[in-house]
């Protein structure tokens, strides 16, 4: 079984400042990793994903994340945030054993609040 921990439930930050949203996972098998964003009153939208290859993954809207296998982390970063980045961000993991393949496990989410 897999689990995801998002260490910060809320992250306030000023516009144009850098931000890091933390995500740690646990799994006994290899995993795929995802970050989703949920804007107010909207559905979940994929920001980026790690399947294999380069551990630094770039996504939409200037976000990137780095897969660190030894630390079982997949932190999300953006060098300069905008007001429009205000949303809730969810980290998710998918285990690659046959029994749970396809089943995305989500963290509890981090609310990013960008202030002018």
């Amino acid at each position: 079984a897999q689990s995801v921990t998002q260490l910060d439930s809320q992250v306030p930050v000023f516009e144009e400042a850098p931000v890091e949203l933390r995500c740690n996972y646990s799994s006994s098998v290899s995993v795929y990793l995802f970050w989703y964003v949920q804007y107010p009153n909207q559905g979940l939208q994929l920001l980026l994903k790690y399947l294999s290859g380069s551990t630094l993954v770039k996504g939409i809207n200037g976000f990137e994340a780095e897969f660190n296998k030894s630390q079982t982390s997949f932190h999300l970063r953006k060098p300069s945030v905008h007001i429009s980045d205000t949303a809730e961000y969810f980290c998710a993991v998918k285990g690659l054993d046959g029994g749970s393949q396809g089943n995305l496990i989500f963290g509890k989410g981090t609310k990013l609040s960008v202030k002018p």
């Binding site: 998002q6 989703y36 559905g43 969810f90 029994g99 749970s100 396809g102 089943n103 995305l104």
Partner: protein, 113 residues
């Protein structure tokens, strides 16, 4: 269709009633997932279909919850004898296969009064 469609967008029902929530996945997607998102929580896995069969239903909380996907496309989540604790946003997602990224619908907000 262009995206995952869920109907209705909002549903208010009385405690004890039966409800059905519908999901139309992206055309051609073989994998379909149902999640439940309670206020302040991340999406909680309910059930995963690969084609017509439920590949993993370990997330269904009890036998009041049931889901079908008879033709491998549209899916219906059925909840019997609804309880106030069932109030949540029910999310549906689909993907080409179980290995690829999932695309989510806007969800159905279920309120049990």
């Amino acid at each position: 269709g262009a995206g995952v469609s869920q109907t209705p967008s909002n549903k208010v029902t009385e405690k004890g009633k039966y409800v059905e929530l519908r999901c139309d996945p992206i055309s051609g997607h073989t994998a379909l997932y149902w999640y439940r998102q309670s206020l302040g929580q991340g999406p909680e896995f309910l059930i995963y279909f690969q084609g017509t069969g439920a590949a993993d239903d370990s997330g269904l909380p009890n036998d009041r919850f049931f889901a079908v996907r008879p033709e491998g496309s549209v899916s219906t989540l059925k909840i019997q004898r609804t309880e106030r604790g069932d109030s949540a946003v029910y999310l549906c997602a689909s993907s080409w296969t179980g290995d690829t990224e999932a695309f989510f619908g806007q969800g159905t907000r279920l309120t049990v009064v």
